[in-house]
Amino acid sequence: MFLQIFSFELKLWLKKPGTYIFFFVFFALSLLVTVVLGGLIGSSPETNVTINSAKAIAETLNGINTDLIGIIILITIIAPAIYKDFQYNMHPLLFTNPITKFGYMFGRFFASFLIALFVITGSAFGHIIGCAIPGIEAERLGGFQLMNYIQPFVVFVIPNTLLVGAIFFSLVTFSRNMISAYVGAIILLVLKGISPILLADIENQDISAMLDPFGDQAFSNATKYWSAEEQNLLSIPVSGTLLYNRLLWVAIAFGISALTFYRFQFSQFNNPVGFSLFRRKKQEIKSIASVPLLSLSDLPKVTQVFNFRFSLFQIWFLAKFEYFKVIKTIFFLIIALLCVLVLTLVSPVSAAIYGTPTLMVTYQVLQISGIIFMIFAPILIVFYSGIVVWREKDSKVDELVGAAPISSWTSFLSKLIGLILMQITLLLIIMFTGICIQLYNEFYNIEVMLYIKDLFGFKLIGLILLCVLSMSMQVIFNQKFVGYFISAILIVVLPILASSMGWTNGLYQFNSSGPRLVYSDMNGFGHQLFSFVIFKSYWISFSMILIIFSNLMWIRGKEKGFKIRLRIAKKSFSTKAKLAMTLSVFSFFLFGGFIFYNTNVLNKNISVKDQEKAQVEFEKKYKRFSKTPQPRIVAANWNVDIYPRRRGVKMNGYYFIKNKTLKPVDSLLVNLYSEINLISMDFPVDRGATLSLDDKENGFRIYTFTKALQPGDSIKVKMSLDYFPKGFKSSDAGTAIVYNGSFFNSSFLPGFGYPEGAELADDSNRKKYGLGKKERMANVNDSLARMNNYISSDSDWIDFECTLSTLKDQIAVAPGYLIKEWEKGNRKYFHYKMDCKILNFYSFLSARYEVKRDKWKNPSARGKDVAIEIYYNKGHEYNIDKMINAIKKSLDYYTKNFSPYQHRQVRILEFPRYATFAQSFPNTIPFSEGIGFIAKVDTTDSESIDYPFYVTAHEVAHQWWAHQVIGGNVQGATVMSESMSQYSALMVMEKEFGKQAMKKFLKYEMNNYLQGRAMEGKKERPLILVENQQYIHYNKGSIIMYALKDYIGEDSLNAALAKYIKKAGYQEPPYTNSLEFLSFIKAATPDSLKYIINDMFETITLYENKTTSCSYTKTKDGKYLVKISIDCKKMKADSLGKMKDVAIGDWIDIGVFGSKEQKGKKTETELYLQKRKIDKNKMEFEILLTEEPVKAGIDPYNKLIDRTPDNNVRSFTDKAPVKDAEGGGTVVIIGG
């Protein structure tokens, strides 16, 4: 019986063209993804990872299988396997045959399941063919291995299809309502969507990995530390969370299937609503009993009104009807609850930095709700558009309504409005939930107007446009699933495709909003509002066209053919409709034209490809000038007038340039952002220069001196520049100068020489254009490169002075000390002058600031006090005291341990959260609104990371590590700035918060380093040769420096650093390099530990430390004898992550911990911690203690780099007496 039904159903599907169309869709999608990833089309970032490894294939196949399109196809195939019998009234015929429940249900289910699997294999074939297309970069391909396709199928595709299939099949079979499948799909997709957000917090990884129904997160969690080499070679690790995830969800799938089977009854099918059966009979008798009293001709006469006003009433009535039809279902309730749940779940983890959340300011809550709009709204709108458009058809009232005397636009518009009302309801729910979250978090500054502006101003327009698009697709394609399909492609796939192909122009991206400007407390919505309105008007015009066309194509009867519908449409294309259409088309072109004028005429809008070509062109043309000797800037003096309302600036001033070479310099190469307008450049009269090349496109000029600049000569070059952005660009909002919170730096000003940084960096791209390989940075020993520091290539140490002017209500700040401040007209002027030499690296800021001032008392009698100033946005007072404290503590530590502070002042200035960093300029630290000003630091929790404190300490440290010592422009340069600032900040934090607080911070650093190296696209370098790789100089730097301090001692390390600063501080070229730096550390390291210098700095070293067992016995004298067995493996990795085991002979911490009750809280206490010589892979230790131990292990503080840090420590669960150690291990007994 099973076989009969199964094969019958299978044959049925195999005859349908849909089966092959779906197969082809999977095939095509997969092919496309593969080709894009393979670098054949579009631009993919540089990487060492192949596209046909088991991991890559699993990601591609599972990605396609479980995205909206994949899910829609699965719904189409599997969900109606039984429901269709009911839908087409087939069940009476079927059930009269003697079929078994098992055969019927599972026959149907497995046949459609198998068809679904068949369809999905399309993606595997697409991938295989994609890899075989000539033009795919050879480095991106590993050898073909069938196993790499089979494994993803077994681990992901089959279980996921089974799961999705079982869920949809059961939902629809029971509810006999396809909507239940859509809601099921929404829930699955939302779970999939939020699990990576939850995963972002390293504390929740296992939970969120289990939560993802498709196993994506568990998989990426299991492989997140894989180096390129491992990603390319290893198979899918079916163990740990991934295994549990798969088992869990397969079990759920089976559970659902079993339940469906158990609960399913044929009879239920025949009598759909069993409950009202009895009542109906009763009613029937009653209605037969009565007799009509009137003649129909005596019916009351009614007046019928057919005018515009009543049509509007009809629309409103029908919209309400549609709305309540949607709202009053259990499904909407589920969706609303899901909305609330997602917001609540995500709010504590999103925007957390180092696990510390932010205050629930309104914009933060709105940003979190944005997640809902990203993953929720499109799916919801796509599904509900189909439901709404086909409501009449699905309940067979279409002919009744079709013959009713309503105007043809009533139906479409009322449904659209109904759908929009649903969106508004969801927005209200979001707003309400958001406010509740704020109140729950004890944040009471609730900006209701901001909610309304953001949700009902910005977001709603986008939602309405999505509604129009997906409803129109339903109407135009006149088939529910085709409509779903096309909408999903347009809404989900097209944007992804466009961005991977580098089509960024908003003119072709439905619903684009123009250049995006994040909301900021400082600058509000800023200047984005104008371009937003223009872009939305453009798309609204487009939507009007869609609406009118859909109205015309709206079918009222049974006509299906597109041609006939078009003919009908032509007939009903009334004058009014024509007028409306003309107006819409006109405004579409009007706004489109205006956008084009702004993005492509007033501004350059070049694609990524064209950008690359321009870079190649530039390099080919001007590379020959790269060795041309140039004079160097020795002083800068600027008058900078900032015009916040016009978002522009005028800059007038001069440089003193000096020939520091030993030869005459006969020309000056000037490079400048091409958008900045260089009005004039004047040389002294007696040293005239002629402009011999002026490349406006690239902002590159060459002046030839009439009289060469002799060695040692210096001249004054006067310049006048301005920058006023014209109109708006297609995607870049331009945030340098804004209404409130301008921040730009010296890169706005002319520089000299050939700009190496303008060259194309990506090697695979360079190869395409016939350029040679480009090293990310010059070799550490490159003496020529060391003639420049890594921040500036046209200057060393300069004198700096500037006069800033801005709006009267703003304060403008640049490095230096305020000499004078005055007002003239409606502008305010500030004169700053620096009293010592600085790097040619300075910033300009202007905003409506509040200022908080404080002072750091220099403990040394001869030292100078330091003024502290925090410039902040009103309302952002929350963490200012923490920042001031951090400045003071930093100054304490750095002046004591490194060298004196070169300035008399430290200033922190807030800037809008368009960027989230802080940056250290001389005595001036611009600090983003987004990283610390609204942080919510839990001061009662010693583990919680006070990142405003940390960031401040780091930036203050840069006043030493970058502004005193600066590395040459070679590998390893950032060790002396970034790694050292990390180390300095860690030390200040450790002093402030204690050793325990370091643990969590270092855990994040370890995670970021290990994940960073997994994503390395070129080569991972050892720390000492770091090529500006953030995961190395920040994250690995922290771990290494902290461990180094632990090994050689804080004092001796700091002494070495102080010596180094003394040697290398304020030095003229050639600049120091990391090898010189390391030599100071080496000198401070005792011989027995010299190996760590090589392990930590000169090579990439990883450990695999593990405590395999631990136990203790109580001795007669009341002491505890602890026995620990450990595994230790030490590995060296090459630049691609290829590992090699090496012999151990290391000193590694062995620790035992107890537990102490402190103020009702259990805290961990260190009972024993000592570095022990580990020279075998397996060792055992015995330790005698006086207190009861709780945990023990090797390297318990995770000082060494270890990809599974969690197994270093073990709890004593086994308290049985210890047996004697069995051979191999070394036993050492130590008195506790």
Binding site: V273, S276, R279, R280, Q283, E284, K286, S287, I288, S290, P292, L293, L294, S295, L296, S297, L299, P300, K301, V302, T303, Q304, V305, F306, F310, F313, Q314, F317, F321, K325, R391, S395, K396, V397, E399, L400, V401, G402, A403, A404, P405, I406, S407, R556, G557, K558, E559, K560, G561, I564, R567, I568, K571
Partner: protein, 288 residues
């Protein structure tokens, strides 16, 4: 007002000729459209009800061009399609009010009155608060006619309304239909001969998209007078008779087969003359 259909033809995309040069004039009163399943009745009905296009020909309702002035036609149209349903979980009252609004009845008081009257008339008033989804087949059809009668329809189209109803319900439905005034056009399509005989003053018989017979039922029976013959035969004889005579219908009676044969004269003495009824007319027409 007359409904006049001239040269109406329609061929579906799959090549099926649904309407083949139809010419009928329909005056006020009840008009029966008789034909077997698939004869093209529903296509014709839908075309008149503005829900389907014709390839050629015209339909005029008074001076309204039905094919081109759909909006105008819908204002005076009441339509009960063959296969219809209602929104789930909506009560009869709400549903009827819903249709009243669609039909342009804007005065809430009038709307209430007409809905009450129609529900009373169709005996659904007591059940007005129940969901239509729970209605029995007969109640649904009655509700359907109530909906069709909303407003002041000049043209009422009912497509196979009694299919699947029990005899009692069918009777009641006939009573309802018969009450619809004589002053408006009512087109009733059916494959049940009795319906037409009971209700219609005019009729047409259709098969394979063509109108085969068009006129008054009594006249048609009159024309058939003396042309229908009956004989009881054994099963084995059926094929033989079918080839020899123009058998229009067969019926099993007490184990034997009763055949009706069409012939201007008595085919042979074994045949007995029969008083023709409408059913014979129908069968004679469609087997022709």
């Amino acid at each position: 007002m007359n409904l006049s259909i001239k040269n109406l033809s329609k061929t579906y995309a799959n090549g099926l000729k649904a309407l083949n040069n139809i010419n009928i004039e329909i005056g006020s009163g009840m008009f029966g459209l008789l034909g077997p399943n698939g004869a093209g009745k529903s296509s014709l009905m839908r075309t008149i009800a503005t829900l389907q296009e014709a390839d050629s020909g015209t339909i005029m309702l008074g001076d309204m061009d039905v094919l081109n002035q759909k909006e105008e036609v819908r204002k005076v149209l009441g339509y009960l399609p063959q296969d219809f349903g209602f929104y789930p979980k909506v009560s009869a009252w709400d549903m009827l009010n819903h249709f009243a609004i669609l039909k342009g009845i804007n005065n809430p008081k009038e709307r209430k009155e007409i809905c009450e009257a129609l529900l009373n008339q169709t005996n659904l008033f007591d059940a007005r608060k129940r969901n239509i989804g729970d209605y029995s087949g007969g109640m649904r059809q009655r509700f359907g006619i109530a909906q069709a009668l909303l407003g002041n329809p000049q043209l009422v189209i009912v497509d196979e309304p009694t299919a699947g109803l029990d005899p009692m319900e069918r009777n009641r439905f006939h009573n309802l239909l018969s009450e619809i005034g004589e002053n408006i056009i009512v087109i009733l399509s059916t494959h049940i001969v009795e319906d037409v005989r009971n209700l219609c003053s005019n009729m047409a018989i259709m098969n394979q998209g063509t109108v085969l017979l068009y006129g008054k039922p009594n006249q048609a029976i009159e024309d058939m007078k003396g042309k229908i013959w009956m004989k009881l035969i054994d099963k084995e004889q059926l094929t033989e008779h079918k080839t020899g005579f123009r058998v229009i219908s067969t019926k099993v009676v007490e184990g034997k087969i009763q055949i009706h044969v069409f012939g201007n004269t008595q085919p042979d003495p074994s045949f007995v003359p029969l008083v023709a009824d409408l059913e014979d007319v129908y069968f004679a027409t469609i087997t022709n």
